[in-house]
Symmetry: C2
Subunit: 338 residues, 2 copies
Amino acid sequence: MSATIKDVAKMAGVSISTVSRVVNDSKPVSPDARRRVLNAIDVLDYEPNEIARSLVTRKSNIIGVIVEDFGLSFVSQVLRGVEEVARMYDYDILVSSTYGDAENENRLMKILLQKQVEGIVVITESNNEDRVQYLKELKIPVSYLNRYYRNDEISTVTINNTDALEDIVDYLYGMGHTKIAYIGLERDFNRTVDRFKHSGYVEAMKKNGLKENVINILDNSEEAYMDLMAKLVKEIKEEKITALAVFSDEAAIKIMNLLLDEGIKVPEDVSVTGMGDITMAELYRPKLTTVKEPLYDYGAVSIRSIIKTIKGEEKMPKEKVILPSFIVERESVKKYRK
Amino acid sequence: MSATIKDVAKMAGVSISTVSRVVNDSKPVSPDARRRVLNAIDVLDYEPNEIARSLVTRKSNIIGVIVEDFGLSFVSQVLRGVEEVARMYDYDILVSSTYGDAENENRLMKILLQKQVEGIVVITESNNEDRVQYLKELKIPVSYLNRYYRNDEISTVTINNTDALEDIVDYLYGMGHTKIAYIGLERDFNRTVDRFKHSGYVEAMKKNGLKENVINILDNSEEAYMDLMAKLVKEIKEEKITALAVFSDEAAIKIMNLLLDEGIKVPEDVSVTGMGDITMAELYRPKLTTVKEPLYDYGAVSIRSIIKTIKGEEKMPKEKVILPSFIVERESVKKYRK
DNA sequence: CTGTTAGCGCATTCAG
DNA sequence: CTGAATGCGCTAACAG
């Protein structure tokens, strides 16, 4: 058993209040007493018990984080922002992952609450109406960090996906491409930010007087990709598509691989752009030209506003927080010359 | 403020002891009383305060995890194993990352201890003697999950790196290669598992009567890679190297990229193998042939033995736990025909 | 400046 | 089966 405040008090010949005072530096203590306490702490190797401290102060200094899967590149990058900033404010992070199981998610939420977390950050890809409802009723600050859409009063930080896709199309157009297809995700279209990406593409194509060509993929399964590729290859040949704006980096990379298998070269035969700028975007060859989403900042910003809210210095933003994004030009897009 | 056990007791017209008993199912309670308590819990939306509970039971049900950086692929995969298994045993995970700062690390360790974590898992790449010393003195179970070497009595789970490299060399030899170079990491050589990989390579080359050719890279910096490439290209040309056994997947992929820039094709001109089987190994083209390290299991096994130790059902293993590893054959190695 | 005291919310003896 | 009482380790009035 490690030493408690009592042991320290006894050894230093003072009361536990005095020990508490020097430990927390909360009230003046005579130099002499302080010295003796410090000494006792040292020899006893005393560390305050945060659990006991939390019970009385009603502050756990812990923030709960619910993620879908650590394995996802964007999750770990966001998490990094969360952890690093939390640490700056002396907060700890209790993480739990759902692996897409909504049942599990409610259970996790309860556990976090029981552990007296002071705020919750949710980092998921999919949307879940039940969860949103639940979160809204919580009395602690919550930040909802999916990369996708929501229309509630829960705090979210994101980028302007419509603008991002417009930028991509403009960029591609500027590179001489006119036959630009958009590869979108069909699953949960209405509940995710994908519809913003889609409309950004549509608007930009219209603006530039180009013919739209949207090809959707059903989900992330192998079959869906096979399906997509069949359509895609056909379109590339028949419609002379020269550029592909893909809804995510992961998908863009998979598609580049499959294109390669079909003997279609990127960027020589067709240019490809992604969205997100995950780590692999730079490691893959050709290096992927994409929109950099500020993943670290997603985490940093949201945890910061949670902590500020806890401290009463701010209120959780009611509106979405829109972070800047920009195109990272690499190698997967080539100037088009007919 | 949420409801406490007192509120429930009052509403149900029983004592707090009775409430505690039904909540924990610890002692018999009359059906009638139980019903009333359950009802009160329901209407008051009562959730036990884990902090208070921990204080009296002296069980936090929290395990601390120290990682170097979530961003690293292998870290997040190990973490996934840790989290998932911990959850099965009703444990939560408090994560903190050091970002390579040893100073920071001691601080984090203290914080974890103050939070009354019941065990600690350390997932790092680098070694740190101070840390090892510190961990040894802790009274709670600790598992040290770096992928590298240590020679202390702290529980570690790993693979047999010597065997792994031998397997790789044998495999390459079986594919017709005789000019096989090993790319190793120089930094901290004596304190990491890299020396095992190195000796595995050396032994296997000897066994097969081949001439060794070890090329070390200093660290992960750009310059070090430039330096390596200069040597490497020279060796490939002068010594007719046809296969490269690289110490890690990350390095193997970087090297393949740089080789590409030099106009050297993988696997046509030179075959390459990695080590680890990170996610990207399969996504990269050519898909990387490598040794699969059981990353998820690293995490799962270590957390499991920590929890078993906490429960008194087992003792932390004194010896290294060696998990199986095997070669995943993909596309980066080609049969050699002179 | 310092010690005494009263809880924080809960599990757990110990008597009934 | 049940309630009253005790204390986990600590902070925060309160009274000196």
